[in-house]
Subunit: 327 residues, 2 copies
Amino acid sequence: MNIGRSAGFEELYGPVLGDMPRVEAAILEVGNVPFPWLSTLVKHVLGQTGKRMRPAMTLLAGKFADYNLDLLVPMAASVELLHTASLVHDDTLDEASMRRGNPTVNQLWNKNVAVLFGDYVFAAAAEMVSRTSNVRVMRLFAQTLRIICDGELAQNFAAYQWDAGRDQYFQRIGGKTASLFSMATESGAALSGLPEPQVQALKRYGHSLGMAFQVADDILDFTGEETAMGKAVGGDLAQGTVTLPAIMLVERDAKGNAVRRYLEGGRTAEDLDTVLRAVRESDVIERCYEVANRFRVEACQAVAGLPNAGARSCLERLTDYAMARHS
Amino acid sequence: MNIGRSAGFEELYGPVLGDMPRVEAAILEVGNVPFPWLSTLVKHVLGQTGKRMRPAMTLLAGKFADYNLDLLVPMAASVELLHTASLVHDDTLDEASMRRGNPTVNQLWNKNVAVLFGDYVFAAAAEMVSRTSNVRVMRLFAQTLRIICDGELAQNFAAYQWDAGRDQYFQRIGGKTASLFSMATESGAALSGLPEPQVQALKRYGHSLGMAFQVADDILDFTGEETAMGKAVGGDLAQGTVTLPAIMLVERDAKGNAVRRYLEGGRTAEDLDTVLRAVRESDVIERCYEVANRFRVEACQAVAGLPNAGARSCLERLTDYAMARHS
């Protein structure tokens, strides 16, 4: 990873940038196993350049009290490992062939290896968090894993339901995405010994940031360029996942909407195109960004009262970044 | 579950039999979720009658010092949940349609739901162990999960290798089976505050019992009745898993053996039949039982020095049961 050398990350990760290589080393340590086939797998998946936004958030959340890297580094690594394990299983279930510009595990090996390897990374994440010897964050880890699975299962069972509505959508993305962001900040804050009200503030920050992040991501699925995203536009809907832009279309015309026609019909490319056009030709995208921005503002408000202006302004800048990152 | 009403279990679980319903209740609590689709899944899988041998071992291991059910019950439930999660993923990867006489999750729903649901049960197991608020057993849980995944991945990568040999076999079953048995006893002993040498003795007991159990299970795949086992005889080999009976055949004739012919050839039913016949017509099964029995004796020796004759003789009887259970 070359986060240390990218100018943009200096502004984002500021006071913790210099500590990110320690997190990276802890992540890659998972590959130090005596089985060559396993170490190859680990290096393939964990060595890929991600932005490491979640572990950076853990370190930043630790900056408001006792910044103890012996606890924060394994915690941050655990957050990234948990995220990675979810991605490996997601890609397997979606039969995705590429991730971050590289072939997926299910593509290079096979589906069975990918399921087992995802399990292995979940276990490595759990082992990493146990290095903190802190019962609270170990329990938080387990709860978060359960909430993520809940969210993923909910998405699976809600597939192709064109009329599921906003509440179910927010609950789902709260589970599958925002829970990990809030774990990232809550754990960093708790490990640094911050008073409970401030831990809760950083937890709310993480949750709201995660919600903004996911709404922005779901918008991009309708507006993004295929090459930049590495996946087809409208891919979520094609897989039956009804996200906020589609939900807003449905809200405007519950009976005759294009989303329903697509999902209840033969799911033709032509019908999908009609949905994409209907989204783009309306103000749905603008309204979705308003929703994302409300979450972004909530995130900033949550940390407004915290001391340490340096770490706090990084957290604030991260909220802009989370909303803009692919566009 | 009706363990409490089966006469056979009284002898096996003796002093902890009356506490097993509390473990059962903790396991089923996982199904208390506000999503009907999830609670249906949980009840389908966790409500099935198993022998609950592993959680009983946790309670028995807790009988040698401070028998505190507030810690031992969630620990025992966690052991069983971890076991169940592994089974759900195993069945999914093997595309098995039946388990314990009931259709599998992958059969009733689909492969994707089964993978996610297995993840969910892993998470529930991790949450359950966190109820002990004991860092040691929480860490042990994470390490065990990792070792199990290691063993499963190793089995996957070693598939169809007819010449892998005993060492690799013992390492593999140590990971995928014995690690969970040793976690069951180590955790119960540690939570009851037993001195470390005795915790280690109970850990060794669990490991050796697990090895005996798996060797006996692998023998049954060659000798069992199809109906009693609910799966086809020779099923392991047909899936490319080379177990001790096949390994012994290979040892006797490295070049011209029937196992190699089957795995390197077209894997015809006829060639599989030749392997099964070669095993049955030799003394391989007898030799395999000798190996299993050595592990069984090791298990008994490990706990020979422990006080509390009641719990100890249950543990001793369990070693017989583990070797005989299906035959």
